[in-house]
Symmetry: C2
Subunit: 407 residues, 2 copies
């Protein structure tokens, strides 16, 4: 079985790359910090005899040979990039648990039949380059290589330029190698497992999500002499939309409707200027595709209502649509068997967060493993998972991989 302390030490060592004030990490995709994290991982893997390939969108494939090396590999992995004030576990756990699996096999001198791959997907968070999971999406054929390389961050730097700058512009064609199975271990990033006193989640799929860029165009004018009824206040319209969407989502007692506005920018903001322009991001999620359609319709209706109420022009672009996903039955079973063997309380569940597995599952049999995180908090420096839960998830990962890779 895996070495719990070694896994924990590697997590804590990685967190020191791009550390933030309050104990989290900031390794936005393809920044110098992200690159440093990748280099550290590569160093660790090469030390146990693995070889590294990089594809054209910067995905890393770290290979451990098998006895039947021409078979498709069994893979695991996740991402090393973080949110601007991210935690120490989101993505990182999945990568370093894969490393710990490799190290454990190395220590025991075990060689699997199928080769193994530890995969690090580029820009999973979507925080620097929208959308999220763009590089696993490219691997799975959802996005073209060209469009992915052309994605821009807020400063207009393209993903392709960032790959060149960090030395991770690889040459392997995107989509290679084909995978026999893919397993991803992740923290839940929500409160359910902790609330229910369960230690593991067998993840059967992922809720659908849609991202929108919304712009409100009113008219900037002086805060003092401009009567309220003459105004075209872009922020007032945005606030109305946000407030109505919150009320709508809160009214759904099932808790399945989720609405988040994470970014709001006022054009040339000034205290005594009525905002003339606002950009807003909207993130809609639901576990049922038809309900997500209905939610999108509510959003469009409330947007029009806010536009009318404040005499402000609106425009909304759906920049991303990730349908509801159901994972592969065989892989779910491999995970569930390994989970049961641990003898702890667990549940089958849908993921609320998007993961690289969403896209990988389109081209390879896939399933995920969740462990609880404290207070359900993620995308926050306070994100925390216990060493015991990390080890438990890693052990399940090892067993699911061995089941599919053969010994």
């Amino acid at each position: 079985s895996i070495d719990s302390q070694r896994l924990w030490d590697s997590l804590m060592a990685m967190a020191e790359i791009g550390p933030t004030e309050n104990g989290g990490s900031c390794r936005l995709a393809l920044t110098e910090e992200d690159a440093a994290g990748r280099r550290l991982l590569i160093e660790w893997c090469e030390a146990i005899g693995c070889s590294v390939k990089v594809d054209r969108v910067g995905n890393l494939f770290i290979r451990r040979s098998g006895t039947l090396d021409d078979l498709d590999p069994v893979a695991t992995g996740s991402h090393l990039d973080t949110q601007p004030r991210g935690g120490r576990f989101d993505g990182i756990l999945g990568v370093l648990a894969g490393l710990e699996v490799f190290r454990t096999l190395h220590d025991r001198g075990i060689v699997t039949e199928r080769p193994l791959e530890l995969v690090i997907w580029t820009n999973e968070e979507g925080s620097r380059f929208a959308p999220a999971m763009v590089a696993s999406g490219t691997y799975a054929g959802e996005f073209s290589v060209e469009s992915t390389l052309a994605r821009e961050d807020r400063d207009g730097v393209t993903l392709g330029e960032a790959l060149e700058a960090t030395g991770f512009a690889g040459t392997m064609p995107v989509g290679e190698p084909r995978l026999a199975a893919f397993f991803e271990l992740h923290i839940e990033q929500g409160p359910v497992l902790e609330e229910e006193g369960e230690s593991l989640g067998v993840v059967t799929g992922v809720q659908g999500m849609r991202w929108f860029d919304v712009t409100f165009t009113g008219q900037s004018a002086h805060a003092g002499p401009t009567p309220m009824r003459y105004r075209h206040d872009a922020l007032a319209a945005a606030a109305r939309l946000i407030d109505r969407l919150q009320s709508h989502a809160l009214a759904d007692e099932s808790g399945d409707t989720k609405v988040t506005c994470g970014c709001l920018d006022i054009v040339s903001a000034s205290r005594n200027v009525i905002p003339g322009g606002v950009r807003l991001s909207v993130d809609l999620r639901h576990v049922v595709e038809a309900e997500l359609d209905a939610l999108e319709a509510v959003f469009e209706r409330e947007l029009m209502a806010a536009s009318d109420a404040f005499g402000v022009e609106v425009r909304s672009d759906r920049i991303w649509k990730s349908p509801v996903v159901h994972f592969n039955t065989g892989c779910i079973e491999a995970v569930e068997t390994a989970v049961k063997a641990q003898g702890v309380a667990y549940r089958r569940m849908m993921s609320g967060a998007g993961h690289d597995s969403v896209y990988v599952s389109r081209v390879a049999p896939t399933a995920m493993i969740f462990i609880p995180c404290r207070d359900g908090i993620s995308h926050n420096e306070a994100e925390y998972a216990t060493p015991e839960h990390c080890a438990l998830g890693c052990q399940v990962l090892l067993e699911a991989i061995l089941e599919k890779a053969g010994m």
Copy 2:
């Protein structure tokens, strides 16, 4: 009488310093652009024999001698700093109309009894350093010199550092010289004169205004797996407050209640992160002080309601309070007499915007003159006043000054 074309030409020349894409100007207080505008003005004034003094907060006093030079001067002026995307007239008209008055007297060889001062007040807009009118406020004793020099912009640069960097850190004690009278010509910055078909406003006072810095502290968390009812969404709380304040102000049929939220910043914003922190600016105005008290009470109540509704901590700091102002009767009369002599429709009115006259009026007899601006728009690149209205206002200024300065 004044030279309408020369006045217009100087306005258009000043607008070319810090020009913006859409025909406005950006000369944020004590930036290199603001300094360049000041230098151009000084050049123009020295060419007609004026002398320049600078006080410790960077206010410029440009003097034209009189025959009785030991009497307190009669003064006019305004500001040259602009909003981030400001217009060509707000403040600038008052300064360049003063220049045009000096040039007209120079051309005719007229020397007034009292000396004249053209005053350029530092950082009137409050856009770079809050609050607005901080340097005229310092002149009038509302703020200490030390506190004014220590005011910081968003990048942490102090007003004192910006004065040093631009070469406008003067040595004259703040509060000198004492003024026998102060007149300020300004565009209305609102729609009333235009709507009513009037060409001039005799400004009898200024509405009261209060500025607040509000912070909302919730908890950042992942947009996907976090159920709505577990959230502490700082942006949702801010949006609720904005929406309620808008509805409250719009419900006042008199139109005297004014609420503006000009700045909103999310701490470490990311599309798929529930905002954990938001900073919001709130600007409340009313022409009646007791009504402004009542408005502030509504604001405090709605802030608490938003805090409760979304489980978010709030804090509000009133960073500025400018009470309702009533100008000096003698100065108002001097303006009204000059206005009547033009034979055009006019009105006596309160100003919706704050002006340096607000503070100057505490230490010197003061009144203002308004001219209409197109569509009532100001703090916007599209701000416009006709050459005819500018000339009309300048002529009134000349006559009011001569009335007080004597010939």
